[in-house]
Structures are given as C-alpha cells and as structure tokens.
C-alpha cells in the first residue's frame, strides 16, 4: 500500500535531490556537457558576498516572519474558535487571503504599493506615498508584511481547529477555580495547543526558508540585493547567470538547513514522543 507513495516520492523528490547534489560538484552553464569541478562551486558560494548576504537575509526573514505571524495567528485562531457575535463574518474575511494564489497576491500588492499610481494616489494619502518596494531600507519589511498577510490565515485555521479540540470541561474547571479569561488562555489554551504550535511553527519556519514566488513577483530580489534571499539567489544564479554548479550548492544548503530545522524543532518540543495531555485520551 505504501509502494505508490514511495515511488512518487522517489521519482519526484529523492531523484532530483540526488541530481542536485551531484550537479553541485560540476561546472555547467546549461549548454553542452557538465564538467567535473570538485569543490570549486562550494568554495565559490561560501566566498560570494551576495550569497552570504542572502543567507543573512533568509535567517532574518525566517525569524521576523515567525515573530510577526506566530502571535497574530494564535490570537486570531483562538478568537475564531469562540462563539462571539459576528465571529463567522470576521472569520470569512480573515480566511480570504488563503484563497488567492501567490502570483495574484504579488501583482495586487505591487499595484497597491506603487507610490505613483497606487493607494496613495487613489486616496490622495501622502503618508502612503512611500517607496515601499523600491527603497533598500523598506522593501524587506514590506515583504514581511505581505508574506504575513498571505500566511497568517492558514496558521489561524490550524489554531482554530486546535482550540476547538480542547474539552469544554477544562474551561469549566478553570472557571470554578476562579481563573479569568487571560488566566484561562495562558493556563489552559496555550498548554493544550502545544502540538498545534509545533506543527504550525515547523511549517512557518521551514516554509519561510523557501519563500520564492511572492518575493520574485514583488521585488525580484531588488532593489540592489536588499531582498535577495537564498531561494531567489539560487534561482537567479541558476537561471539568469546560468551557473548551475553554485545554484545547486545553494539548493543543497537550503535542503540541509530545512531538514535540520524541522528535526531540531521536533526534538526540542518533544514531539517525537507525543502524548496527549487531554483527559481520557
């Protein structure tokens, strides 16, 4: 029963992966035959200031996206799981960004943030007339905002489901013990969401290592190299400069870091020996 899935995974994930590792030891410009170059590409990548800067940006982006997305999605998810008035109407609104493709989101934000023809002109609002995507100081943070806008709904959904699974009796007991709303959130909701937090954080952190489409459409890595994160650096090196060796090295780095990060998260959180804290389970 596992065979078709394994075959699929092997052909579409492991095989190309092995190809990339092999290619990282070759020099190839996309034409002709690749020639063996030993560790040349590896040395070049670790000496290239552009790639080193891309690594820095990637880690910064991973950290910042997490810092912005985690509290927002946790709070929104908890809110959406409740029974307040208009909750459903709000939830539908929060959910909307999840329905748009990254390309559509990118093009729409690019148009809205255009200082000459975008929102600032439509509403005649001068404070919106910033060089959002064109200034090396602003572009990176603008990207974090757009990325969070796109991905918070998904993580909220995870938290909503997580909160809904917490037995009502635990809240009743907490109320009897005299715990207020805030106390209940920190002492009941948060500990019960432990595994949801691990799942969501893993997806968030590993996912932010591979952000590509939104950034590609919004800035293309610019202005200068201000938003050239590793996945973009890999693409531009491979398919614009046609240096397939160094591009493969960057791909290998991304894979290794992604794997280490998810393994690490699983170890640290103890999710590899998951046990329920819920009553009766």
């Amino acid at each position: 029963m596992l065979a078709p899935a394994l075959a699929f995974f092997g052909v579409f994930a492991l095989l190309p992966l092995a190809g990339v590792v092999v290619l990282s030891f070759f020099a190839w410009d996309g034409l002709g035959t690749p020639s063996f170059a030993g560790l040349d590409a590896w040395v070049a990548v670790f000496q290239n200031p552009v790639t080193l800067n891309a690594m820095k940006l990637t880690f910064l982006m991973t950290a910042l996206s997490f810092v912005v997305q985690f509290p927002l999605s946790l709070l929104l998810g908890t809110f959406m799981a409740g029974h307040q008035r208009y909750r459903e109407a709000f939830s539908v609104l929060y959910f909307l960004p999840l329905l748009f493709s990254a390309a559509a989101t990118g093009i729409a934000f690019k148009a809205l943030l255009d200082p000459n023809f975008g929102l600032s002109r439509a509403f005649n609002a001068d404070f919106l007339k910033q060089d959002w995507l064109g200034s090396p100081n602003l572009a990176f943070y603008t990207l974090i905002m757009v990325i969070s806008w796109s991905f918070v709904p998904f993580h909220s959904l995870l938290y909503q489901a997580g909160v809904r699974q917490i037995p009502k009796s635990m809240y009743e007991a907490a109320t009897l013990d005299g715990a207020g709303r805030t106390r209940q959130f920190f002492n009941v909701t948060l500990p019960q969401l432990k595994y949801t937090i691990v799942t969501s954080s893993t997806l968030m952190l590993v996912g932010s290592l591979t952000y590509f489409d939104l950034i590609f459409i919004l800035t293309g890595g610019g202005p200068g190299n201000a938003t050239r994160v590793l996945p973009l650096d890999m693409y531009l090196t491979g398919f614009r400069s046609y240096q397939m060796g160094p591009a493969s090295v960057i791909a290998v780095i991304l894979i290794v870091v992604g794997l280490l990060l998810s393994l690490g998260l699983n170890k640290v959180s103890g999710a590899d020996k998951m046990e329920s804290q819920m009553e009766g389970a």
Binding site: F9, F12, A13, P16, L17, V20, D29, G30, L31, G32, V50, K110, L113, D114, P115, N116, F117, K129, D131, W132, L133, G134, S135, P136, L203, V206, T210, F212, D213, T219, G220, G222, P223, G224, N225, P231, M234, Y235, L236, G238, F239, R240, S241, Y242, Q243, A251, L254, I255, G258, L259, S262, L263, N266, A271, D272, K273, M274, E275, S276, A281
Partner: protein, 438 residues
C-alpha cells in the same frame, strides 16, 4: 494518542523537500515541452506580445506554400522563453529556428556548436537587411543569425506640453539636460521617468554616457575581455554623471518602485508627472496604446541622447537592440535545415511582414524604407527612428545581451546599486573587473 514513530517524523519532514524541488521546477514556464525539438520536422518558438500575429502570419504563409513541411509554432513569454531555450538547446531538443538576441548568448550557442554557419546561404535576406544590423548576427566573421523583426534604438522621449509650459529647451547636450533637470525639479515635476525596479532601463544611461564620453571602443575592449577594461576613465565618468543625475533629483525619489513591464514609466510621462523618458523605440507602441490622445495631439517629442561636452564619442551613435535574430539549429536534420534556410530567404521580413511591423509603429530592420515612412500613420516617429539607425556610425547592442550571462547579471546588480547610492563608482569598477578573469 499513540506515540509517533521515527518513520512518521521523517515522513512529516518530507513536506519540506518537495517544496524545494518544485521551486526549482517552476522555472520552466507553464507550457510542457510539446511540439518543437524534433530533428526531422520544422519547428519554431517565438515570443508572445504585439508581434505574435506577424510571426504567425509569416509561418501560415509558408505552410500554405509548403503544405508538406509545415512549421510547428509555439509562443512563449519573454522570460520563460529565455530559460526554456537554453535547456532545450543544451539537451539537443531545440526548435529548428532559434529566436535570439545575438551577442553573448549567440556566441555561447556557436561555441557549443548548437547553431549552423549560414554564411553564403542567406544572401537573399541579407541583401535587403540594414547592413550594420545584419553584422550583429556575425560571430568571428561568420553569419550565424539573420534579423527577423524591427530595430529598437533607445530614444529620449519628452512631453512637448511640459517643456513648453516651463519654457525648457529639449536637451541636445549634457549641459542642456542638466538645465532641464533643474527646471523641472524646481517645478515639482519628475524630470526623467526611470523604471528602476526593472533595472535594465538603467543600463541605457551607462551605455549612452560611456559611448558619448569615450566612444564605442571602450565597451569593445570589455567584450574582448581585456584585463581591467572596466577601469577606462570613460566608465568612471559615465558613472559619476549618473550619480550627478540621481543627486540632482533627475529621477525623483521613488524610481525604485517603477516597473517597465507594466509601462509605468511611460505612464508617468503621459499623465504629466514626468517630463522625459529614456527608453527603447518599442515604448512608442505603449504610448500609442495607453494614451492615444497624447500621441495624436503631438505631445510626444523624441530625441537622440544628448552629446557629452567634449566627449570622444560620435553623438549620432545609437544603443539598443539592433533586432532579434533567427539562427538554425545544428541538431536538425540537414534537409530540415535547408527548409529553414529557404524560409529565411523567401518569407522572413518579406513585404507582408514589413507592412505588418510598420502598421504597429515598429521599424523593420530593412533597407530603403525612407520614402515609404513619412506617409504612414506614425510617419513622424518612424522616420525619426529610421534615420537615427541608418545614420548611426555604430549601433551598440545592449550590454546585458552582448556580455555572457553571469557578467551581465553582475552588471545589472552593481549598476542598480550605483543608482540607489549604495555603491561608489570605484567599487563598481573593481566588481566588474573581477568578472573579466572568469
């Protein structure tokens, strides 16, 4: 809940891996490698956009005359074509006719023996092509490409309305350009629209300035890979002139957000927010489409790039894209190659194609159009641009096309950092000199 096994943890990690792999796969464009690429039949890939119908019409005409050997035609968007064509040539699956920009990529193809030497086989088509443009299709003195569309010189567009309103003379020298910049800055109008987000429009400045200051020889030394060729004083002076323009506020404060692909730079001019625009001749079509009244009302003026004071370059020199080119794939069977060459001589840039290009305001790379142009709808612009090209002692292919891919990317990044004020001219020069050794 049951404890999760090690295997399940690993499977969970699997989600990270496919996302990386699909990331590298998404570069191939949307279309699967369908038709083109069979060595035993005629095939061709061309670009989508305004000229798509012209190419399709030309291949339809061939199909009608040669029903036994029809062309399999596929159209791609510019960026996805550029990525796809390289892979297909590298793997021996290239279409018979290879659409290209000459320059560095064509040299790569020749070096890899992917394209056929056409010398002596395409004299019919070359006899009515503009000579200086046909020469661009040569590598080491042999003809590997023939022009297949319009010539695209870079032109300084300006809004006649804004120039009159503020009493500014259209600039023909560097000093006049700086005066115009100051006048428009004082009037709170962006002097020159620049699509800084797209980066490549910034190349037009360094190309023209280097040529005007030091002549065409400066870049020729760079192309031949002479050591420290970027250290030429003309390059430094050109970079300093760019910094001078940026510091004077010539491009406004938000050029980094302007993208050329949506025509935002042209829009700044026809909506009266900017006075000038240095862009390719193809932008005339954008103006015509987006602001027909602006063009019809004679509000769009055009000039060659201003002369440098005391510069060594000929002010009549032109930079841009001389044309696009067809090359013939060496992977195709010999008889298929013969058919493709027959197409090039008999159908490429024939009268129908020429008329079709002229109808959209584009200037086909063909001789002896002088008398035909003034009577056309866009006669004024077409005559201006045609004369500019015909009279140019030298037509410089855009540097990003002329250079091999890796140095071209390095050039774009470093140049954008000059415009953003993140890099000094001296750092630019040393970064670019480093690309000459490889």
């Amino acid at each position: 809940m049951k404890p999760v096994t090690r295997r399940a943890t690993l499977a969970g990690l699997g989600i990270a891996v496919p996302s990386l792999v699909t990331l590298s796969a998404c570069s191939g464009g949307k279309k699967p490698a369908g038709g083109g690429g069979s060595p035993s039949s005629l095939s061709v890939w061309a670009l989508t956009g305004a000229k798509e119908d012209t190419y399709q019409g030309s291949f339809d005409a061939w199909d009608e005359a040669n029903p036994d050997n029809p062309f399999a035609v596929e159209f791609f968007a510019n960026d996805s074509y550029k990525e796809k064509i390289r892979t297909s040539i590298g793997s021996g699956n290239a279409p018979t006719l290879i659409f290209n920009w000459a320059g560095g990529t064509l040299e790569d193809y020749v070096g890899n023996e992917s394209v056929v030497d056409l010398t002596g086989k395409v004299d019919d088509i070359l006899s009515h092509s503009i000579e200086s443009i046909a020469k661009v299709g040569e590598v080491d003195g042999k003809q590997y490409g023939v022009p297949n569309n319009d010539t695209q010189p870079v032109v300084l567009y300006y809004s006649t309305e804004l120039f009159e309103e503020h009493g500014v003379t259209p600039p023909t020298t560097w000093a006049e350009l700086m005066t115009a910049v100051e006048a428009f800055v004082a009037a709170d109008i962006t002097p020159i629209a620049l699509a800084g987000q797209s980066v490549w429009p910034e190349l037009m400045y360094i190309q023209y300035l280097t040529d005007r200051i030091g002549g065409e020889g400066v870049f020729e030394k760079i192309l031949t890979g002479e050591a420290d060729a970027w250290s030429d004083p003309a390059i430094t002076s050109a970079l300093e002139s760019i910094v001078q323009l940026v510091d004077a506020g010539a491009f406004g404060s938000s050029f980094g957000s302007v993208a050329a692909d949506a025509g935002a730079d042209a829009a700044l001019v026809h909506t009266g927010q900017a006075a000038m625009l240095l862009q390719g001749s193809w932008v005339y079509g954008t103006f015509k489409q987006d602001a027909p009244d602006f063009v019809a009302g004679d509000k769009l003026g055009f000039l060659n790039f201003p002369a440098a004071d005391g510069g060594a370059g000929d002010p009549a020199n032109v930079v841009g894209n001389p044309a696009n080119f067809w090359s013939v794939s060496a992977d195709a069977d010999p008889e298929v190659q013969e058919l493709a060459i027959k197409y090039l001589n008999e159908f490429n840039l024939n009268e129908d194609m020429v008329d079709s290009f002229l109808g959209m305001g584009a200037i086909p790379a063909v001789k002896d159009l002088e008398d035909k142009l003034p009577d056309l709808d866009d006669g004024k612009f077409l005559s201006f641009a045609y004369d500019m090209v015909i009279n140019a002692p030298h037509f410089q292919l855009s540097w990003d096309q002329a250079l091999p891919a890796a140095p071209a990317q390095e050039l774009l990044t470093n140049l954008s950092q000059i415009f953003l004020g993140e890099k000094k001219p001296a750092d630019f020069v040393s970064a670019m000199n480093a690309t000459l050794d490889s």
